[in-house]
């Protein structure tokens, strides 16, 4: 029988709004927790800063609070929530990070994160050393936080495919496909507002989003709900109410 992980990590950088793209991640974390896994929901606030200042230094604290409060409002236990700046400045973490980075080629690190780094996507933004270190921290966090399973979006999979084999012991992973946006193919925090649905959306807002984008509706009806319920027909209410409840951990 498959063993459930002891500690699961999911990290999210507080760059823009807490959006609906996180619904499958959050729901899956609840499933892990229901099987006894310890959950670490990492508010990777310094990642947003290191990644070409997606989050300005002065905004880190405010955005972190917004993210934490949103997750708490959605019923996430406080004990799950950790911020990177709770440990990034500790001697143990810093020393470990520096030791770890000796094994990572700067170029290979950058290439592994091409689908997520702002500087890789925008030709007018200079690649900085922060890009390299942001990715190095993301890999080292797995070791430092002593998790045996890491969850991320598929866009970050290459980072872990590159980095996880360099860590010991081996770490399992779950990569989730990106949620479609309401207008575009994917939903990201840095997108314009009309492409984003907030994670704390009411059922009526979810239903309205379904009406705007059939791709969005199909993704959540055919992927998110079956993933979180185990079967596509396991919910007796409408899809928008089922999603609303699953996000909040309600039966």
């Amino acid at each position: 029988m498959r063993r459930w992980p002891k500690r699961v990590l999911w990290g999210v950088a507080p760059t823009g709004p807490v959006h609906f793209g996180y619904a499958p991640h959050l729901g899956l974390l609840r499933i892990f927790a229901s099987h006894g896994s310890e959950i670490i929901l990492l508010i990777a606030n310094y990642h947003g800063f290191l990644d070409s200042n997606k989050t300005q230094l002065s905004e880190i604290s405010k955005k972190t609070q917004i993210y934490k409060q949103t997750f708490i409002d959605l019923g996430v236990p406080k004990r799950w929530l950790i911020e990177t700046n709770e440990f990034y400045f500790t001697p143990t973490y810093f020393r470990g990070l520096m030791e770890h980075t000796a094994n990572l080629s700067a170029e290979e690190v950058y290439i592994s994160a091409k689908t997520t780094l702002r500087s890789a996507a925008a030709s007018n933004i200079n690649k900085t050393v922060g890009d390299i270190i942001y990715v190095a921290t993301q890999i080292y966090d797995v070791k430092y936080l002593d998790v045996d399973c890491v969850m991320s979006g598929l866009d970050e999979a290459d980072i872990y495919r590159y980095g996880l084999p360099k860590l010991s012991p081996a770490t399992d992973y779950v990569y989730l496909p990106p949620t479609p946006g309401l207008l575009g193919p994917e939903m990201h925090s840095c997108d314009k507002a009309d492409n984003i649905l907030p994670l704390r959306a009411a059922p009526t807002q979810i239903a309205s989003a379904f009406g705007k984008s059939d791709t969005f509706r199909q993704y959540h009806c055919n992927f998110t709900l079956p993933l979180l319920n185990g079967t596509s027909s396991a919910f007796s209410v409408s899809a928008e109410i089922a999603l609303f409840k699953l996000i909040r951990g309600q039966k």
């Binding site: 070409s52 200042n53 020393r95 080629s105 700067a106 900085t128 390299i132 190095a136």
Partner: protein, 326 residues
């Protein structure tokens, strides 16, 4: 009495990453630093332990033993008057790491890669941080560092200070790193000594440089192989290693140097006088080799006696000795 602005207010610094067993290639730097107190500087010896870990894949445990060994050698054996500060004692403070993350997020990758030695185009992630930390250290190790002692290969790294000053124009309102953008120390670049063949130390191996742990047999064999052209300071690209060892490894450590040549003792108190006699042919290389062996053997014996038990446990001394077929 000291007056404000006198040299006693000045601080100098040299950083070294404690990695490998120590050799006499450091002598030029050690001699230069011993003179700093006479010039009125309060000197800091930065034991760059985290840098050592980053650059060579050594564990923290490995570094612990090495840094004690380096500190002991330079302060107790070489007699460099200084405050020895471990990098880890301030580089892991939140204020330092916060400044570092800030700089990392602002400095263009290309600027940092350019600071790497030519020929090494694929730096590790650690290396790019290494260079920035080396510059940031200046702002954090002391209230103000006026003079940096370094070997010329470090010029590329310290050029990053200019790139850091560029940041000021776009982030002037940032409340962190007080004073970092005003860093403008002087630099004195001092070459490492060459190896026994007269080649740059960067091209040396443990077989071609004199370790402070060499046995008399190994030492004699290395001296016998030294590049020592008669009456010349160099041959082609290679410098006269015999002369250089007298200059950095004998004269600064002995008030009076005696060289037996053609059955006659020649006494010197200054290297320059010895060099003149050598270049004139009054001192033959073979005579100079013999005296060099005597002085270095005596010095190495003292050094080896000086190391406390335990400090050198991490070194495989047998591997440092010259192989019989070399």
């Amino acid at each position: 009495m000291q007056t404000p602005g006198s040299k006693s207010d000045l601080t100098s610094m040299w950083g070294v990453a404690p990695i490998a067993p120590i050799h006499l290639g450091y002598d030029s730097l050690a001699v230069h630093q011993r003179a700093l107190s006479g010039r009125g500087y309060k000197h800091i010896l930065l034991m760059a332990d985290i840098h050592a870990m980053m650059s060579n894949g050594l564990t923290w445990k490995d570094i612990n033993s090495r840094r004690m060994y380096y500190e002991y050698y330079f302060t107790q054996i070489c007699g460099i008057q200084s405050d020895c500060i471990y990098g880890s004692s301030f580089q892991t403070r939140p204020g330092y790491t916060e400044d570092l993350y800030f700089l990392l997020s602002q400095l263009p990758f290309e600027a940092v890669r350019d600071s790497k030695q030519a020929g090494d185009e694929k730096p590790t992630s650690a290396w790019v941080v290494y260079a920035i930390m080396q510059c940031l250290d200046i702002a954090h190790i002391a209230p103000k560092v006026d003079l940096i002692i370094a070997e010329p290969g470090q010029k590329r790294i310290y050029r990053l200070l200019d790139a850091m000053k560029e940041i000021k124009t776009i982030q002037a309102n940032r409340p962190l790193i007080p004073g970092i953008f005003d860093i403008s120390p002087s630099f004195e670049y001092v070459d490492y000594c060459h190896d026994i063949f007269g080649r740059p130390l960067s091209e040396s191996t443990s077989n071609s440089r004199i370790s402070v742990h060499d046995s008399p047999i190994t030492l004699r064999r290395k001296i016998s192989k030294m590049n020592a052209p008669e009456k010349q300071k160099k041959t082609g690209e290679r410098i006269n290693a015999l002369l250089e060892h007298y200059k950095n490894s004998v004269f600064p450590w002995n008030p009076l140097v005696k060289v037996l040549a053609a059955g006659k003792d020649h006494d010197y108190t200054k290297y320059e006088d010895f060099e003149l006699d050598y270049l004139s042919g009054a001192i033959h290389p073979n005579d100079a080799r013999e005296s060099l062996f005597n002085y270095l053997e005596s010095r190495l014996r003292e050094i080896q006696r000086g190391f406390e038990k335990g400090i050198t446990n991490w070194i495989d001394l047998t591997r440092l000795q010259l192989p019989s077929d070399y």
